[in-house]
């Protein structure tokens, strides 16, 4: 089986670390600065000694000067939970390469970067699939670089099917997460019920959200013309349309308008947003675009 990411790309990804604008709130220790006080090398503050405090943290220099006992406090380093919402609906199976393969590669890359940074990674693939319950369970709360191989294997075992319910999946993910961290949403966002409430729920829960919209080249620039009856792969809805080259511009404008509305929604809520097509070179997206957008650095 072809590996999801090439060794060369993995090696280059190891240089990156997910950037977080927020301090880690996780209870588990990690390598992220947090507001909590604890053990680390980063000095944070002083506090008056109270009986029972650890003598090891007394600042003897201050005691010498002031003849009072002060305790040095250090920043506690916590882990950054990274949740990747991966759209595994039927619509993601289209494209060459398919949108799902492309999204899976991005998820693998983000997950690998997070694992290398000792962050906890969860893949939340939606919609639910009973057949893949074990695999999907194994993709939750993965930590440590040594778990990367298993992580990749489990990721590769996912298959797209079913109807995406983006809003519901994101809202449920936001509720179920104990500590908010970084959330990456990988989807085509082509859900008739919309995406607004789902993304809004993530933001409200305190996630730092990055949204990556993946479309196929056929969706952006259709090459099929004539009198068509289009059948929706997810819900079977049919749409009759007479489409000619002279209407291509109007269609592309529609796609642009859709993406622009999504972009504006994201910008309004501090969500990093990318729109890409499944045939975009992966390296270019991971090593240039996401880096420029300070998803990682």
């Amino acid at each position: 089986m072809k590996p999801i990411l090439s060794p060369e790309l993995l090696r280059r990804l190891e240089q990156f670390q997910l950037l977080s604008k927020r301090r880690a709130k996780s209870s588990a220790k990690g390598e992220r600065r947090s507001r909590s006080r604890g053990q680390s090398v980063e000095f944070a503050d002083y506090k008056s000694y109270t009986p029972g405090d650890d003598f090891r943290y007394l600042d003897w220099n201050l005691y010498g000067r002031l003849d009072r006992l002060f305790l040095k406090l250090y920043e506690e380093e916590r882990e950054l939970p990274v949740t990747i919402f991966l759209d595994a609906s039927e619509s993601m199976a289209f494209g060459n390469p398919s949108k799902f393969d492309f999204a899976r590669q991005i998820a693998a890359a983000v997950g690998y970067v997070a694992l290398c940074g000792f962050d906890r990674v969860s893949i939340a693939a939606f919609p639910d699939s009973m057949g893949e319950a074990a695999v999907r369970g194994a993709l939750r709360s993965v930590r440590g670089r040594k778990s990367a191989l298993t992580f990749f294997q489990n990721l590769a075992a996912l298959t797209p099917s079913g109807t995406a319910a983006l809003n519901e999946a994101l809202r449920r993910g936001a509720l179920m997460t104990r500590q908010a961290g970084t959330a990456v949403v990988l989807s085509d966002f082509l859900d008739p019920s919309g995406y607004e409430t789902g993304l809004g729920a993530l933001v409200a829960r305190g996630f730092q959200v990055s949204a990556v919209q993946i479309l196929t080249q056929e969706e952006v620039n259709p090459s099929t013309f004539g009198d068509l009856r289009l059948v929706d792969s997810e819900n079977g809805w049919q749409e009759e349309v007479t489409f000619g080259r002279y209407r291509l511009g109007a269609y592309q404008q529609t796609v642009q308008n859709f993406c622009q509305r999504l972009r504006e929604f994201c910008q309004g809520r501090g969500i990093s947003f990318f729109s890409t097509t499944s045939d975009t070179p992966l390296e270019s997206l991971l090593l240039k675009q996401l880096r420029q957008a300070e998803v990682w650095g």
Binding site: E90, A93, L190, L230, S233, Q238, E240, T242, T254
Partner: protein
């Protein structure tokens, strides 16, 4: 609003076709796509599909239907009836005489003339008016003045060519009255000019446009036919025929004589260019029947290649001579072969019926009802008084009258006569300066020849003209010869004939086989039939007897199909043939049809480019 071409409404059948195009479901290619969300948004933004599929919102369909309806209306040529004083009036005189059947113009001169007249109709402006006259033996107004082109076309299509001569003078006089008081008028004469002399029509200012038909004269025609008893053998018949050659070459052909359906004789004849040749057949006739002569030549005009003559067997003429004694008169009468003469000194009241009464200087107590030759005897009703004349000099006589054929009054002296004024029922045949000496005419149904002097008081019985006159008189007054003459009718002339017995209804069979109810004058017991426009043998069946009539063209002016580029009106005026005017044909219909085609193309193209 009316329509000149209501047949165009058949195009309305196209309207449902347009609707059908919109109702037809297009065959669509089924494609599985990730999501139709973007397409829904696209359709919603461009308003491209669903609203357009509903007829009630489909302006494109409504516009197309409207365009179609307008185009169909245009094709139906609606018009509003109104009177316009400013238009021009055209009087179309269509010559429908026999000569127009000439086939030198394809298919015939008449059809060519009709086509040209139809072009003239097409070229009419909306406020112009036109009258259609068909000129043959009788001028018929086929269409009174109208601007309605449909009616004019129908009128022209209803014109039928006849076998009769043309009376163009009558047609032109009618046309002249139609354009009186019209400032702008034109008479369009479509004719070949083969007509009688137009010298009687003197009008130099008439706006006649002469459309001349015909381009050559290749015609040989029978221009005269007569059948008479053989002078030596009354049981045989002599058939006189005249064949005229109106072409520019000498023509040699054959002339066939048949009696009823039996061919009797064929003679070869050669007629020099532009000349006539007489031909005489002698045939034995044993029963009443029809002599038909036929030219076997093939020429442009076929109608004058045949002529028929109804010939009846001669009947003896029963003549009663009432005279105190006149040997000259008696001998002259007895010399006539067909006469059965009876002589009586006075006319008795119970005398049997005679065909002819010769009254020689007697005044009968009761006047007979048959034909009469009266010498110095006159019925009180015939003349308004009389005066004696002493030695009247004969100054003039009418040699063209059948009574005076071969009769001359040279060296005839009269010692005394009765002077009268010519009555209205008679024509003077022999005249002196003071009074007519001989009159002949028809009073009621009685033919009368009146001579004002006693032959014995003149030198006339000593002249050769006297027995000839008596022979002519017996022939002219003989009732059976009168009816025999009535059996051969020039085409276009009415048939009028007294029917023997009490006939109230009869069937007339026309040459083409059509059978019609003949019109019988119930009071006078006369047949009256006017529509003799077709040449041939007409058969009248009265129930008890069959009477045949032969209708012939026998008209040299009609047979002369020489194209005439100039018509002489009267002594001074003349009109030259115009070259056919290039009529401006209506092409808007084709433009409208083109518009329809463009509309259809637009529909096709609109859908093609979506593919």
């Amino acid at each position: 609003m009316n329509f000149l071409a209501p047949a165009a409404f058949w195009f309305a059948a196209v309207l449902p076709v347009v609707v059908l195009f919109y109702l037809l479901k297009r065959k669509r290619v089924v494609r599985l796509v990730p999501s139709t969300l973007l397409w829904q948004k696209f359709l919603a933004e461009t308003q491209a599909s669903a609203p357009f599929q509903r007829l009630r919102h489909n302006w494109l369909l409504l516009l197309q239907l409207l365009l179609l309806i307008l185009a169909i209306l245009a094709l139906a040529r609606p018009y509003l009836a109104h009177t316009s004083p400013g238009g021009q009036i055209y009087v179309v005189v269509l010559d429908a005489s026999a000569s127009m059947q000439s086939t030198d113009e394809a298919p015939s001169r008449f059809e060519k003339a009709r086509a040209e007249a139809l072009k003239l109709v097409d070229a009419m402006r909306a406020d112009d008016q036109m009258v259609v006259l068909q000129a043959a033996a009788v001028t018929e107004v086929k269409q009174s003045p109208t601007s309605e082109k449909g009616a004019l076309r129908r009128a022209l299509q209803n014109c039928r060519v006849t076998d009769t001569p043309t009376r163009l003078t009558e047609a032109l006089k009618l046309a002249e009255t139609l354009i009186q008081n019209r400032s702008s008028a034109e008479i369009h004469l479509f004719s070949d000019g083969a007509a009688e002399d137009l010298s009687a029509f003197e009008n130099s200012g008439l706006p006649v446009v002469y459309h001349q038909l015909g381009n050559r004269s290749e015609n040989l025609g029978i221009t005269a036919l007569d059948v008479r008893p053989h002078p030596d053998d009354p049981s045989r018949r002599v058939i006189f025929a005249t064949v005229s050659n109106f072409s520019t070459n000498t023509v040699t052909t054959q002339l066939e004589l048949s009696f009823d359906t039996a061919l009797l004789e064929v003679k070869s004849i050669s007629v020099p260019a532009r000349e006539s040749a007489p031909l005489i057949f002698v045939a034995t006739q044993e029963r009443d029947g029809v002599f038909t002569i036929k030219l076997s030549a093939t020429d442009d005009l076929a109608i004058d290649n045949t002529a028929s003559f109804v010939s009846l067997l001669p009947q003896p003429v029963r003549v009663l001579m009432v005279s105190g004694g006149n040997r000259f008169l008696e001998r002259a009468l007895r010399a006539i072969p067909s006469v059965e003469l009876s002589v009586a000194p006075a006319l008795g009241a119970t005398a049997p019926d005679f065909d002819l009464y010769v009254l020689d200087n007697v005044l009968p107590a009761s006047w007979p009802e048959g034909s009469i030759i009266a010498f110095r005897s006159a019925h009180p009703d015939w003349f308004d008084g009389s005066v004696p004349l002493e030695a009247p000099a004969i100054v003039d006589w009418k040699g063209s009258h059948p009574l005076l054929r071969f009769v001359h009054f040279d060296n005839v002296q009269i010692s005394e006569s009765v002077g009268v004024k010519t009555p209205s029922w008679a024509v003077p045949l022999v005249e002196s300066p003071q009074s007519p000496l001989m009159v002949a005419g028809e009073l009621g149904r009685q033919r009368i020849v009146w001579i004002g002097f006693d032959p014995l008081q003149s030198t006339w019985p000593l002249r050769v003209s006297f027995p000839i006159f008596m022979a002519n008189a017996v022939d002219w007054l003989n009732p059976s010869s009168i009816s025999a003459r009535q059996l051969t009718v020039p085409a276009g002339s009415p048939i009028r004939m007294a029917l023997a017995g009490n006939v109230t209804q009869a069937q007339l069979r026309l040459p083409d086989g059509t059978q019609i109810e003949a019109e019988i004058d119930p009071v006078r017991g006369e047949l009256l039939f006017g529509d003799t426009s077709k040449q041939g043998v007409y058969r009248l069946n009265t129930g008890t007897a069959e009477i045949l009539f032969a209708v012939n063209l026998l008209n040299a002016a009609e047979s002369d199909t020489t194209p005439r580029s100039e018509l002489q009106f009267g002594r001074y005026a003349r009109v030259e043939a115009s070259t056919f005017r290039r009529a401006s044909l209506e092409i808007w219909r084709w433009v409208a049809v083109l518009a329809l085609a463009v509309l259809m193309f637009e529909w096709w193209y609109y859908h093609r480019r979506t593919a």
